[in-house]
Amino acid sequence: MATTLAPVLTDTWDADRSWTLGAYERAGGYRGLRRALGMQAADVVTMVKDSGLRGRGGAGFPTGMKWGFLPAPDGGPRYLVVNADESEPGTCKDIPLMMASPQHLIEGMIITSYAIGCHHAFLYVRGEVLHVYRRLQRAIEEARAAGYLGTNILGSGFDLEITLHSGAGAYICGEETALLDSLEGLRGQPRLKPPFPAVAGLYARPTVVNNVESIASVPGIVRGGADWFKGMGTERSTGHGLFSLSGHVTRPGQYEAPLGITLRELLDMAGGVREGHQLKFWTPGGSSTPLFTAEHLDVPLDYESVGAAGSMLGTRALQIFDETTSVVRAVTRWTEFYKHESCGKCTPCREGTYWLVQVLKRIEAGQGTHADIDLLLDLCDNILGRAFCALGDGATSPITSAVQYFREEFEAGTHTPADVLFPPEHSSLFTYAPRRGRAALAGVHA
């Protein structure tokens, strides 16, 4: 049977004033918390471990196991920090979740804090989503007024405060240790690991850092049990996940489905690639995951299958590009992003992304040399595995995969500009007449 959608997190999003506590409670919200508070904390951890939930922020590390890495309580504080710094290009699931149903996340934070023995949790949301910040702030107020936060929560004796913290514009802060430095009031640069945050995280205390969707999945697991969650997905990639379709697709949007669904199935639900066009390339999990092509339409979108096919499930950010799109233009733009967002701490990433942009820009302008493809691959080879954190590794993914599948387009960059081969006005969703010569954007200062 074909896979169907499985709305769990999205199930309340169409309710009237879905973001309010009242709407959330009417849909069964906070039943998970009540159940959790009646359990031993260790049993909640075991339940999440047994569910097989893996981190929804990209890396896919088992969530319950991460919690289990905290050392035994020593009387000092332990922290939960939620990573709501969603900014991986193509990724657009946590932001709509927090806009439509922030209480899902807050309930998950309370249950998780109870499970790991945390009494002060932090919610680090990127600063570029004003209304989401407002919704989260209000959700915390409502939860507190209802007795879900504060002291002696629901008479359980458990105390918890949540501090909402706004970032200020830095992709790197999605890296968990950079996020911790940022939360401590420093430049957001990654830390050397080990020690891992579980041992020495926020303020050098044991800390769990989890993605928004991971934490928002916890109340459902507690309500339904580990087996309920395992009833969805595949054996090693259990449960539901948000699949975000964007780009050249008829009905882009959020599709919540069991892990293991394929792009062919999702595209079918979304009305296919835009009319009159064919799929050219796509990202399974954001720009940091190697590109896929039409030959990967039937790869089950679970951690193992996507890995075996040469990419990563990442954040299930399915960016769809049709045959009008220049892969050189796409990859150059992503690389400019990594260059802009490189924190500068380590040389391979800081210098490497700079040089990658230099080479790619001349290929995009049709002025590449015959040695440039090898130069690109050599640069990637000197970044991948040598950078301080995953940002550098991610920067190489689109390049190496694009050269693998579309080498001839890079070769064409030795004589023909990308916008001649692929006029940008053919890719855009509206018709317009380009006013400039090739590769020249108004107002962009070098």
Binding site: G38, E142, A145, G157, A168, A204, W228, G231, P252, R329
Partner: protein, 313 residues
């Protein structure tokens, strides 16, 4: 000594006011105390304090840097080092509205580049430049997590979805004319840069309930599931537990709980207005110290401080 007018253009060679007047300083210090109380360690307050400074001066001004440094016992160099790392902290006076055009790959390909060209030509400014009337600072922005609404434009970090060059030009024209402008998903109308900065510092503007919960793309999958009758498996485990608990009434509740865990006081159980603060009561978590005594001991603070020192050196 010449002193620059804060809010005006930076003039080469001009010096800057290095402090706020007493009244402003007292007001900001009171805000800073509220911010600092949210964290176990004061330095964590630096990012929200920088947003607070921008809510006063419209950018991270020299006197704002000095203020943060004084509040947190840091040097101005340490504060500047942080402020310059993050793109939302502006180094010169910002316009009333930051208009950001997403030109990361997906939005660019869907038409973001054309929108950028249109706005840049129309306004006569480039990236991170401000129109002469001080209304608009134009920016090329990175992915803002709304790819299913591409191409996206942000105005003071509110979402303007599915834009075209024409629609984006209309938005900036309305902004310059002082007409209220409504985002696609967000508050009823966009606020100013300074007002936005104050919210990001943690001070509620009470507008969370404005606007929609979700846009059409957000709901696409859910609508299809409703139409097709697709659902996730039911919470059978919970249903079994609840049935068992109901069979045991009235002796419900849990060994850990002092009060029945399944109930909360009726006064708080009203569905919709639950949690609406009473007039005069606390309106925001920002007004409340969140630090509990479990957070930090003097000894830990000491240890953390020395690790910070090592990092800074």
């Amino acid at each position: 000594m010449s002193v620059e007018e804060i809010g005006g253009a930076r003039i080469p060679g001009a010096t800057h006011r290095t402090s706020f007047d007493d009244e402003t300083r007292a007001r900001l210090s009171a805000d800073a105390a509220v911010i600092k109380a949210r964290y176990p360690q004061e330095r964590s307050a630096l990012l929200p304090l920088l947003h607070l400074v921008q809510s006063e001066d419209g950018y991270v001004s020299p006197r704002g840097i000095a203020f943060c440094a004084a509040e947190l016992g840091l040097t101005t160099a340490e504060v500047s080092a942080v402020a310059t790392f993050y793109t939302q902290y502006k180094r010169h006076p910002n316009g009333d509205y930051t208009v950001g055009v997403c030109t990361n790959t997906l939005c660019a390909v869907m038409g973001g580049d054309a929108i950028w060209e249109e706005l840049s030509d129309h306004l006569g400014v480039g990236h991170d430049e401000t129109t002469e009337d001080g209304a608009i600072t134009l920016e090329r922005i990175e992915c803002n997590a709304a790819c299913d609404y591409a191409p996206v434009v942000m105005v003071n970090w509110e979402f303007f979805d599915n834009q075209t060059p024409d629609s984006a030009r209309d938005v900036v024209e309305a902004l310059r004319a002082g007409t209220p402008v409504a985002p696609t998903r967000g508050a009823d109308h966009v606020c100013t840069f300074k007002e936005m900065s104050r919210v990001l510092a943690g001070f509620s503007d009470g507008r969370a309930d404005e606007g929609v919960g979700a846009g059409p793309a957000t709901l696409r999958g859910l609508e299809l599931a409703r139409q097709e009758g697709w659902t996730a498996p039911p919470f059978t485990d919970e249903e079994r537990t609840r049935a068992a608990e109901q069979a045991r009434t009235p002796a419900r509740g849990t060994p850990r709980a002092a009060a029945p865990a399944g109930e909360r006081p009726a006064s708080a159980a009203e569905p919709t207005p639950a949690g609406t603060p009473a007039p005069g009561a606390e309106q925001s978590s920002a007004e409340r110290p969140a630090v509990s005594e479990r957070d930090v001991s003097a000894e830990q603070e000491q240890r953390k401080q020395s690790s910070d020192d090592a990092k800074e050196s």
